[in-house]
């Protein structure tokens, strides 16, 4: 029953769920995402409580430029789609296609991060620094936490791609791909809320 009974090329249909270890990891990761939901929920609550307290800084309405944020949103949503393609290739045991889609996912994630860094740099120049006001502190903390999650995901998936090249697609590496995909979808969903609560509400209610 150990992980090594399945030789490469004779992978089971869903290699990510073939061992008890893998099933534990998937369940444990879902529970972890439950905790992450509370984490972001609390960050959102803090932001909602403080978002009108702008002090001497610019308002959300003056600051946010929807076209750029919309572009970032599209990049991240598309990257979620490509990570679905990666998992589908995993189910069809197509290693190269899977790696290809993972690379696309990472590139899209990096583009998103680039836009976000530019955005932050731009805001700081507009007089919206981390210490400007309660609004700015909670904005950078919430959006920054999300950005840090994206950065972590990019590094994590890169590490997994390296392992796929070295170890191949096995019942040990498959769950890693699968779990990183769940994680990627999660940070995508968080971004949808950020786009709505921070940016859209900032434009409308600001």
């Amino acid at each position: 029953m150990s992980a090594h009974d399945h030789l490469d090329g004779q992978l089971p249909h869903e290699p990510e769920k073939a061992t008890l270890e893998a099933r534990n990891k998937i369940l444990g990761f879902w529970i972890f995402l439950g905790a992450e939901t509370v984490l972001f929920g609390t960050l959102f609550s803090a932001f909602l409580a403080l978002r009108h307290n702008i002090g001497d800084g610019p308002t959300a309405n003056e600051l946010f430029q929807l076209p750029m944020v919309f572009a970032a949103t599209m990049l991240l949503l598309t990257s979620s789609l490509t990570s679905v393609f990666a998992v589908q290739s995993l189910h069809h045991h197509k290693k190269n296609a899977m790696v290809g889609w993972l690379v696309v996912t990472i590139v899209l994630g990096l583009c998103f991060l680039g836009l976000e860094i530019y955005e932050f740099w731009h805001y700081v120049h507009e007089g919206h620094g981390f210490t400007t006001s309660a609004f700015s502190s909670s904005f950078y903390t919430l959006v920054g936490f999300h950005g840090a999650h994206v950065a972590f995901g990019v590094l994590w998936i890169s590490l997994i791609i390296g392992q796929i090249f070295k170890k191949g697609l096995t019942v040990v590496t498959a769950p890693k791909v699968y779990i990183s995909a769940i994680y990627w979808h999660f940070i995508d969903v968080v971004w949808v809320f950020i786009f709505t609560v921070v940016y859209l509400m900032g434009k409308v209610g600001g």
Binding site: V38, T42, S45, A46, F130
Partner: protein, 615 residues
Amino acid sequence: MAAHGHTVKRYTGLMDWLTTVDHKKIGILYMIAGLFFFLIGGLEAVVIRVQLMKPMNDVVSSDTFNELITMHGTTMIFLAAMPLLFALMNAVIPLQIGARDVAFPFLNSLGFWTFFFGGVLLNLSWFAGTVPDAGWTSYVPLAGPTYNSGHGVDYYVIGLQIAGIGTLLGGINFMATIINMRAPGLSFMRLPMFTWTIFITSALIVFAFPALTVGLVALMFDRLFHANFFEVANGGNEVLWEHIFWVFGHPEVYILIVPAFGVISEVVSTFSRKRLFGYSSMVFATVLIAFLGFMVWAHHMFTTGLGPVANGLFSIATMLIAVPTGVKIFNWLFTLWGGSIRFTTASLFAIGFIPTFVMGGVTGVMLASAPADYQYHDTYFVVAHFHYVIVGGLIFGIFSGLHYWWPKMFGRMLNETLGKITFWTFFIGFHLTFFIQHFLGLLGMPRRVYTYLDGQGFNNMNFISTIGAFLMGIGTIAFLLNIFITWSKPRNAAADAWEDGRSLEWSIPSPPPEYNFKQTPLVRGYDAWWKEKMEGKTAMTPAEPVGSIHMPSPSILPLIMSLGLFIAGFGFMYDRLIVGGLGLLITFACMILRSLYDDHGFHIEPEDQDEGVHA
């Protein structure tokens, strides 16, 4: 199967303990660390009581007093009570569900070491000379940079953050373990009550601790990086801290008490030699208490000024909790009713728990009444209430559980005479200390104040309370003596050490072998082991043939990862960002190593399974 010749380096001595991923050994580590911090917290309590023994006393200064109450509360809750619960969870849960280990043995070890280093960091503040002094709730603005410029609260924020990671990992681990690792036939409604309560507590941890994480991050950003979450001058909001803290803090007190409910259920049932009365209502009541636990946080904030509607709703929600709790109390009473009760130490602590906890519950309902709370708020009445539920509830439960499972953890029975001395001194000492504090509070003595004037009618009651605290100290010393004396005795505890064991842990040797169950047992009903015994069997029915057993490899990485966080904590605190970055780098490097090198583990072959049984 024997063809898998992965050779794994196995350590002995100290290295074995530093690298272990065995839940039984991690349980013992949690217990040692938890008792150590319990002694520190207890010592702080004794100093507090000595200071309050007579009016205008000057044993400690007012500043030191603030530090003492802050560290007493923080240490007892996060560094003593939580790890002692984790000790029992680790020692018992995999055995009760018929598993060979937890779902994530590596994470289990990581959880212990992060908790440990977080606790050490927090307590090093005593040596650094800047101790947290804003109370265990660390309310802003008192804890904010404007009014608390030293490093004291930084130790609180970063120490708890690191320790909190460990707790969260533990919660995830035990949820996954209980869902995925149960033996065949062990359905949810056949789980022993202790396993049920740990499942619920783990869920509470998973959904409550991240709120604390965010609160601590926000306070840390305010203090270290000049953010404005709680800085009113720049638009911050102080009530926000209260909300975030108590959204975590109220579930936290249920995280503490729910496992005690589980221990009491096991002990009462075993020593009454009866099936637990109303098992399914017990499960339902526990789930309901946990659910309501998330709905009542603002009852800690009645005097903040949220308005009559909020206060009214939170009042009613709080009072509702008395209903499922009452269900539990009656279930224990009916379990005792008509049972042939054995008064062992474990049983005495469990029986002592019931009236004590009821008293804490009654004052809880009194405090839940918002208008009355304006009178009780921040007086010794509140201090009496929460010590009744936390000491009289949780600590009695932990003592009961430690005496009950000690033979299973160590293979030695604790001395019953010393155990009874522990119980009576601790029990009488406890009531002497805290019962009288109800009246002190009603007379108007405020909490968290370092002294009081003569002639207010506080003198005698405070003196009595201090005597009680000494008595509790003697009880604790008796328990420690018991541990040391037992240590020199032979390991001769029977598998079913109390002869009336009901759940799976009593069907295997004391202490269990490294792999717990030679063959995974088949569970045929609630109280699985009792059921087999009643049918004249001497062992569980196996669910699998004897075979090679796969074990996870030991690893030093969890220790180094936690050390990295510890170093990073100091770096950020003292504004040495390079040190902080270096610490985080160590942690991330360990994560990468863990990901790159597969843990193949090793196998224990059937011919090796009979020797070296004692882990």
